[in-house]
């Protein structure tokens, strides 16, 4: 039997894509609407139905408060963080603070965590894949921006779990792009992946050597992407409108949603034309009454470039930083690969060309390549003899907090995983009997400016003057990217350790609770509607065949033909019983077809006998 198919998912800020490797070739799986891209939008319709993808996006204008988009910008983040506060201001849906400083979205009368929102998108993609394969799919590789921290990765993994996926691995988007680029080709050399997507910017440098993909360095900004470009356009439009009519359109959620759509459309158009019109009739009614106002403005490419020049410049300065960390000069690169819809913008292409001093590669599809790469990695992991091996790195440094509120790095960023390291620390005070080990992620030397992944206490130390008791701290990252830390008293051999898990906003209990509820809900999902329908069909066919069998047996004249037909009918019934217990839609359909054919043979046979007898 062929192995169960595995998929790769690019869970994007604005759009998501699912791919797989079929007969050695990575391909995009079209969604059930026949499109390659599924908008990462989840909505609750007024009817109380949950909508995902294109249909959710389409009704966003009329239902802005119950339409969640760009969930990726919030997933795994802390509510209190400054950047989240900034992002929330521009959202049209309400976000509140959860119990552990995580974020919750009010949707359809329920408070949903962000992993649950993303899970809705993932489940949609899973169903698309199942519809395409005609069999269940459970194993997937999901991509995240290279600069996602441990919490954001965990939250994405949780989303996969809620969607009923076994997440084989979380990999970085630029790395995935490189996998898709280098897959099946005999390329060797260093390549840079410049990935400017809907919400995030990533740059990675990889060395490809006969199927080994060695990540040299990676970096980026999780809050720099197409949405920020849109925002600049919206601001310009809002500002112009306010100057003309004295009305702030941002206060009107529906107007804001329309502006958002119009800005995105204008931005995309300006990648191919030099000037475009923004037309939003009846955008608002003036507060004092009177006829509705329209927004009408022309926007040139030059104006857009002027509005977003600093954003473009920021991508290049991040490139400089990452390349210098990798000790790579632009001239050393064999190729620069552009990924993400935003890299269609001519200004970005020009900047990239100017910095890397070469024409960027046009060999990959910027919006699909990440999902294809995820599919390649899923295939490489589950296949016996794969030529592809990814040597991935830690995106951020790991360390511990030390006396004085500083952070001491134990595993620097861009270290290949799996890895482990050990360092000896001492007590910092006289007569100190306990030490608190705080596991930090981030680049800052100030402890509190980093992300706290977890903490634990090692106690029972010998009372001594400071610096005398030695504690050995070991950090370990396994190939799954799971971090564990342990501390050992060198004198007594006493040891304490933690495995850092589930810091994605949901606690273990909450996740279990959601998963449990999920199990109850299972019969409601459309996948199961179809399954039930097919089962009903098969049961009916079985009933019919069973009804005819005695008649056929009675009228049997001992001919080979009749015996053969009866035997086949009985075999068909046995198989159908088996299939009925399973969940494969294609098998159900096949079994039904076979029984229907048997039935028509029976009917024809009986008719013939009947006519002979008469």
């Amino acid at each position: 039997m062929a192995r169960e198919p595995v998929i790769g998912i690019d869970l994007g800020t604005t759009n998501s894509v699912v791919g797989t490797v079929q007969s050695g070739q990575p391909i995009v799986i079209k969604n059930r609407l026949g499109q390659n891209l599924t908008p990462s939008v989840v909505a609750y319709a007024k009817s109380g139905k949950q909508l995902v993808g294109q249909i959710a996006k389409r009704q966003a204008v009329t239902n802005p408060e119950a339409t969640v988009y760009a969930a990726k910008r919030l997933i795994g983040r802390k509510y209190s963080s400054e950047r989240v506060q900034q992002v929330i201001k521009t959202l049209s849906y309400p976000v509140t603070c959860g119990e552990h400083d995580d974020l919750r979205v009010q949707l359809g009368g329920k408070l949903l965590s962000l992993p649950e929102i993303s899970a809705a998108v993932l489940r949609e993609l899973k169903l698309d894949a199942e519809a395409s394969f005609g069999e269940p799919v459970s194993r997937a590789v999901i991509t995240v921006p290279a600069y996602f921290n441990d919490g954001q990765r965990q939250a994405t993994k949780d989303a996969g779990k809620i969607a009923g996926l076994d997440v084989l691995r979380i990999i970085n988007e630029p790395t995935a792009a490189a996998l898709a680029y280098g897959f099946g080709k005999n390329v060797s050399g260093k390549v840079a992946i410049f990935d400017l997507g809907g919400g995030t910017f990533d740059i990675s440098v990889l060395e490809i050597n006969k199927g080994v993909f060695d990540v040299a360095a990676t970096g980026g900004d999780t809050l720099l992407g197409g949405e920020d470009f849109d925002k600049r356009i919206i601001e310009a439009l809002v500002f112009g409108f306010a100057k003309e009519h004295g009305i702030d359109l941002r206060k009107d959620r529906m107007a804001l949603q329309r502006l958002k759509d119009a800005a995105e459309k204008a931005k995309i158009e300006l990648s191919t034309v030099n000037e475009t019109q923004v037309n939003l009739p009846f955008i608002c009614t003036p507060p004092g009454g009177g006829s509705a106002l329209h927004l009408q403005r022309s926007l040139t490419r030059e104006k857009l470039e002027e509005l977003t020049e600093d954003l473009c410049e920021r991508t290049i300065s991040i490139c400089e930083q990452v390349l210098s960390e990798a000790k790579v000069r632009p001239d050393d690169l064999k190729e620069v690969i552009l990924v993400g819809g935003m890299t269609r913008m001519p200004r970005i292409i020009a900047k990239v060309k100017n910095y890397f001093r070469r024409e960027p590669s046009k060999g990959v599809h910027p919006e699909e390549v990440v999902a294809l790469g995820a599919a390649v990695q899923a295939d490489a992991l589950t296949q016996q003899e794969s030529r592809v091996l990814l040597l991935d790195v830690t995106p951020q440094s790991l360390g511990v907090a030390i006396a004085g509120g500083y952070a001491r790095k134990l595993i620097p960023k861009n270290t290949t995983v799996p890895t482990s390291t050990t360092e000896v620390f001492t007590t910092s005070k006289d007569l100190q009997t306990t030490v608190k080990i705080m596991v930090l992620q981030g680049e800052s030397e100030i402890a509190r400016e980093n992300e706290l992944l977890g903490e634990f206490v090692l106690s029972g130390l010998r009372e001594a003057t400071r610096g005398e008791v030695e504690i050995e701290v070991t950090f370990d990252i396994n190939s799954e990217g799971i971090v564990s830390a342990s501390a050992k008293d060198k004198e007594t051999g006493m040891q304490q350790s933690i495995t850092v898990t589930a810091s994605g906003g949901l606690t273990r209990e909450e996740l279990d609770e959601i998963l449990e509820k999920q199990a109850d809900n299972l019969l409601d999902s459309p996948e199961d509607e179809e399954l039930a329908e097919r089962r009903r069909e098969l049961s009916e066919a079985m009933r019919n065949v069973r009804g005819f069998l005695p008649k056929v047996k009675a009228a049997m004249d001992g001919s080979d033909f009749a015996q053969d037909a009866v035997r086949r009918g009985e075999q068909g019934l046995t198989r159908a019983e088996e299939v009925l217990r399973g969940k494969s839609i294609s098998a159900l359909v096949a079994a039904t077809d076979q029984l229907t054919r048997t039935l028509s043979v029976f009917k024809g046979w009986l008719q013939k006998i009947g006519s002979q007898e008469q």
Binding site: N209, G211, L381, L389, P418, T419, N478, S479
Partner: protein, 319 residues
């Protein structure tokens, strides 16, 4: 420490008996490499010779990753081998981190001066390498294989001598090899090459000896040496002309001198000295007309050739 060894033995037996998704060879390979890790230096872990270039280090690291990265065993039931493979990969990565960083590597090489002088090219699995070498040696002792082995040894040593510039040794080795196995094309080709190089070398030596003899006024000896050189290396115009010059002296075979001088001119037509020498020999032999033509040629090449000028004057004003 017999008991310790036996404990190690039981641990290995237990691991070998474990039911995991690995075949016996792979198990053995992982176990022996894991046990060897502590003994191996960074170069040996990656299967490199000391002093390997940065490019070689990277290539070896990728090669080793391809074999031992835990992803290679994804979803496989590895039992205790999971931890072993992870340990091996971590060590591979550690070795790579040190050797790929210019500063760390320099420091490491300073701290371990013995590595640079260690025998070259240690393979990742020294035990296996040693066993394979022993097998090869045993096979080589078989009478059927003896002749072939001897030929290969001679060929190898011949190649080595050739590379070292010892053409005499290379020639005798290869000559012997070609006697043992006359049909061996490799030996044949190499032998021709060596013979040529060997003769050139000997010619150069003879030429030097001739020059020494000439300085010591042993003209007869010098002539013999030059003649030898010219015979050994028919392409050397210098040897030919030197031999011809000395053969010009009375009591020698003029015909031979003329042939050699002609050869020198043919090999190096743009040398005025060679042409004048030929002219002198032709004069001696009573072939004035031919001599005059050579003198003219020589003067065309070098209008200030003093002896040629003198000769020309003489021939113009015969009275």
């Amino acid at each position: 420490m017999g008991s310790e060894a036996s404990v190690g033995r039981t641990a290995i037996d237990a691991a070998m008996a474990e039911k995991v998704d690995l075949d016996a060879d792979r198990k053995k390979e992982i176990l022996s490499l894991e046990r060897a890790l502590d003994r191996l230096n960074h170069f040996e872990v990656l299967g490199l010779r000391p002093g390997a270039s940065a490019g070689e280090v990277k290539k070896a690291y990728h090669e080793a990753s391809r074999r031992y990265h835990p992803d290679r065993f994804f979803e496989k039931n590895l039992g205790s081998f999971r931890a072993r493979v992870e340990r091996i990969f971590k060590r591979i990565h550690d070795s790579y981190s040190v050797l790929s960083d210019v500063d760390l590597r320099a420091q490491y090489e300073r701290d371990h001066p013995e590595i640079a002088s260690a025998p070259a090219a240690a393979a990742p699995l020294p035990q296996d390498e040693a066993r394979a070498a022993e097998r090869r040696a045993r096979l080589a002792r078989h009478p059927y294989m003896a002749k072939l082995t001897r030929v290969h040894e001679l060929l190898d040593s011949g190649k080595k001598s050739l590379a070292a510039g010892d053409f005499g040794k290379a020639y005798s080795d290869l000559h012997l090899a070609s006697k043992l196995d006359p049909k061996n094309q490799d030996v044949h080709e190499l032998l021709n090459q060596v013979r040529h190089r060997h003769e050139q070398q000997r010619a150069a030596e003879e030429l030097k000896r001739g020059q020494v003899a000439e300085q010591e006024k042993d003209l007869a000896g010098a002539a013999r040496c030059y003649l030898n050189a010219a015979n050994l290396d028919p392409k050397s115009s210098l040897a030919a002309s030197k031999a011809a010059k000395l053969l010009l002296k009375p009591g020698h075979d003029l015909k031979q001198a003329r042939d050699l001088a002609q050869r020198a001119v043919d090999l190096d037509p743009n040398n005025a000295d060679h042409r004048f020498l030929l002219a002198a020999i032709l004069d001696q032999a009573g072939m004035g007309k031919l001599a005059s033509r050579q003198v003219e040629e020589a003067l065309k090449l070098n209008p200030n050739h003093p002896e040629a000028k003198k000769r020309q004057k003489k021939s113009r004003w015969p009275f």
